[in-house]
């Protein structure tokens, strides 16, 4: 008689199910200047396991950023589904998608997109203000701990006066501030010089690992991609109607 699974095993399995990202049969079409549609992306299947670090590699215009936007629910696929565990993100209405994004996702942008008029601490805790009137003590302390983890000491400095490397560290801390299960990073090192890119890349990967978060990183930075557990190459989708699949995808 097979032994019944322990409660811990069930919980771990549930968690794994709840935090698995699945993109199934996803296509994305845009319209060209002549009004005719063209396919931007054709992704038959992509599954990202909980806590996995995935790199998206490919030339500019291949659709890496579009995949991140699809995952974040910022755009909806022409066909197919984007699911986070049991939640079909692409089927949620706008308000639910906003809430899902806030509670699940941390986003790191190429150009940091900090609020220059706010100080480091306020930038890190800004996402908390989307849902609460007051930034709680626990959130503030968590923000301070993240800042320290990123090597930021003076939290009262305005973001506008920070170096680019410092700005991206603040952006990473901000992305981690809500303890997201999924971190999307869009060319996080592209605006930095080599030394800072190395440093920031390391911090991003380590911080995601420490948080146990899934990290999906679109990048041209071979050094950063080398730190990912898995990379997939994104090639531009062939013109309609000859639909092709994404090359080198993993399931």
């Amino acid at each position: 008689m097979p032994a019944s699974p322990s409660p811990n095993t069930i919980a771990a399995k549930d968690l794994a199910t709840a935090r698995t990202l699945r993109l199934t049969g996803v296509t994305l079409d845009h319209r060209g200047g002549d009004g005719r549609p063209f396919r931007v992306l054709d992704l038959p299947k992509l599954v990202v396991a909980p806590g996995e670090h995935l790199g998206l590699r490919g030339p500019s215009g291949s659709g890496k950023t579009s995949i991140l936007h699809l995952i974040a629910g910022l755009i909806l696929p022409g066909s197919g589904t984007v699911a986070w565990g049991e939640t079909e993100v692409s089927a949620l209405d706008v308000s639910r998608r906003d809430r899902w994004r806030l509670n699940t996702l941390g986003y790191v942008f190429q150009d940091f997109h900090l609020i220059p008029e706010l100080d480091v601490a306020a930038n890190i805790t800004l996402p908390a203000s989307f849902s609460s009137w007051r930034i709680g003590r626990a959130e503030r302390e968590h923000g301070e701990a993240l800042a320290r983890r990123m090597g930021l000491t003076d939290l009262s400095r305005k973001a506008g006066v920070l170096s680019r490397g410092e700005q991206q560290r603040v952006a990473i801390a901000r992305a981690l501030s809500r303890r997201p299960a999924l971190i999307l990073a869009d060319e996080p090192t592209a605006s930095l010089d080599a030394a800072h890119a190395e440093e920031v890349g390391t911090l991003l990967v380590e911080a995601a690992r420490e948080a146990g978060a899934t990290l999906i990183c679109a990048s041209h930075d071979s050094g950063l991609l080398a730190r990912m557990e898995r990379c997939i190459d994104i090639a531009p989708a062939p013109p309609l109607p000859d639909l092709a699949t994404v090359s080198g995808h993993a399931a």
Binding site: S66, V94, R101, L105, Y107, E117, L118, P127, S131, R134
Partner: protein
């Protein structure tokens, strides 16, 4: 949610634009508030100044000119009315009291007004704040703002017009036309009336007549002052203030001393000069002036409303442009999970804050401007204008704020439709 950190950040980012917007709104509000407050203050103060002038009788001419000369002491050479009217008034049962008003002299720029002691005390309504009312020829009681002390000697000079003279300062013209040997002694000071009479020197009308060689209005050997004026021939006076016993009496007196009535009287009794008289209630003339003032105010308010509309439209366009420039910033917030309402509030509250600041600044600026204008009017005329902001101004400001903030919802609502991914790509 709490959008205020972002609102503050947006305002800081746009500080120069924000300042310009606040200044524009403030100017638009200030113009409207200043016009409203000034017009009302002028109306109230001029009404208060005319309080003791129930009925005015003078030589035929311009009622407005007589009113301006008598009540607001904007003295000009106006025709004299036959002094016999004073005798007729003294015998008229409908008259509770009356006082001739004679002017034409000045001292240090202050007009010297000849009248009766009773009218100097405004028919008993006020008492001197210092000293006493005049009781004999050669005595004077000064208005609250006249810089003469009790016991000072006042040397009158002939000067029919006081316009252009600076109160408290003697000019060359005044020195040249002095009435030598006719000095007055200050025996009292009146409390502030808030009218140009605060800058007047009040003396017995008998003294004014005597200074000009017209006798003293009394029978030979009579040294008292005040009515009845019993000289056989009385000197002419520019105006007489009458206090009627009743409302009916007031109307009857006005009718009696109106130009046509006076002419009829002249024919019947042969008492008055052929020039006749005119009589009117100052309140009536003021109503006419207020009506004209109200029309002017209406035009000004219309102009200021149009101005405010233009300002609001410009600001709205500016805000739309500014919100457009910041679409990427708001898209980033959305990408991080900010709900649409949060972004809408960030944009709208920022604009509402600018509107509120502009309105408050405009209100203060408007009151300040109206106050400065009131000071200028007081310096020029002696009419004290009490500036106050009342419900019409507050309503006007509130309306501007409401319209402005409601309109601000348009650029804020536009953020609802903005595609996040497109904005993120810039």
């Amino acid at each position: 949610m709490n959008p205020f950190a972002m609102v503050w950040a947006d305002l800081r980012a746009l500080r120069w634009t924000a300042l310009a917007i606040v200044a524009l709104i403030a100017m638009a509000v200030a113009i409207g508030v200043a016009i409203g407050a000034q017009e009302r203050a002028l109306r109230k103060s001029s009404t208060v100044a005319a309080a003791d002038f129930d009925l005015l009788i003078g030589a035929p001419g311009s009622q407005t000119q007589l009113l301006m000369s008598t009540i607001y002491l904007q003295l000009e050479a106006i025709p004299l009315m036959d002094g016999a009217v004073l005798k007729a008034l003294a015998q008229d049962e409908r008259v509770a009291d009356f006082a001739p008003i004679a002017f034409g002299d000045v001292s240090r720029g202050y007009p010297i007004i000849g009248t009766t002691s009773a009218f100097a005390g405004r028919w008993g309504r006020i008492a001197p704040s210092e000293g006493r009312l005049f009781a004999a020829e050669g005595e004077a009681v000064v208005g609250a703002d006249v810089r003469y002390k009790l016991g000072d000697r006042i040397a009158p000079s002939h000067a029919p017009a006081v316009q252009g003279r600076k109160a408290g300062e003697e000019d060359e013209d005044e020195a040249k036309h002095r009435h030598a040997g006719h000095d007055y002694t200050v025996v009292g000071r009146l409390p502030p009336l808030g009218s140009p009479w605060d800058r007047a020197i009040l003396v017995p009308v008998e003294s004014v007549w005597e200074v000009h060689g017209l006798g003293n209005g009394h029978a030979p050997g009579v040294e008292r002052i005040g009515a009845p004026f019993d000289a056989e021939t009385l000197p002419g006076v520019p105006a007489v203030v009458v206090k009627p016993r009743s409302v009916a009496g007031a109307y009857a007196l006005r009718s009696h001393y109106r130009q046509s009535g006076a002419m009829a009287l002249f024919t019947a009794r042969s008492q008055y000069s052929q020039s006749g008289t005119m009589a009117f209630f100052p309140a009536e003339v003021l109503v006419g002036i207020y009506r004209a003032l109200g029309d002017a105010r209406g035009l000004l308010v219309l102009a200021s409303t149009l101005n405010a509309t233009l300002v609001l439209s410009s600001i709205l366009l500016l805000l739309v442009a500014v919100a457009g420039l910041r679409r990427r910033r708001y898209a980033v917030l959305r990408a991080m999970g900010a709900p649409r309402l949060y972004v809408l509030l960030v944009i709208w509250l920022g604009m509402a804050a600018l509107m509120a600041l502009g309105c408050v600044a405009g209100l203060m600026l408007g009151v300040g401007a109206a106050g400065a204008l009131a000071k200028a009017v007081e310096a020029q005329t002696g009419l004290r204008l009490a500036i106050s902001v009342e419900s019409p101004e507050l309503l006007q400001v509130a309306l501007l704020f409401v319209v402005g903030t409601v309109l601000s919802l348009l650029p804020a609502a536009a953020s609802f439709r903005s595609p996040i991914a497109t904005e993120l790509r810039g």
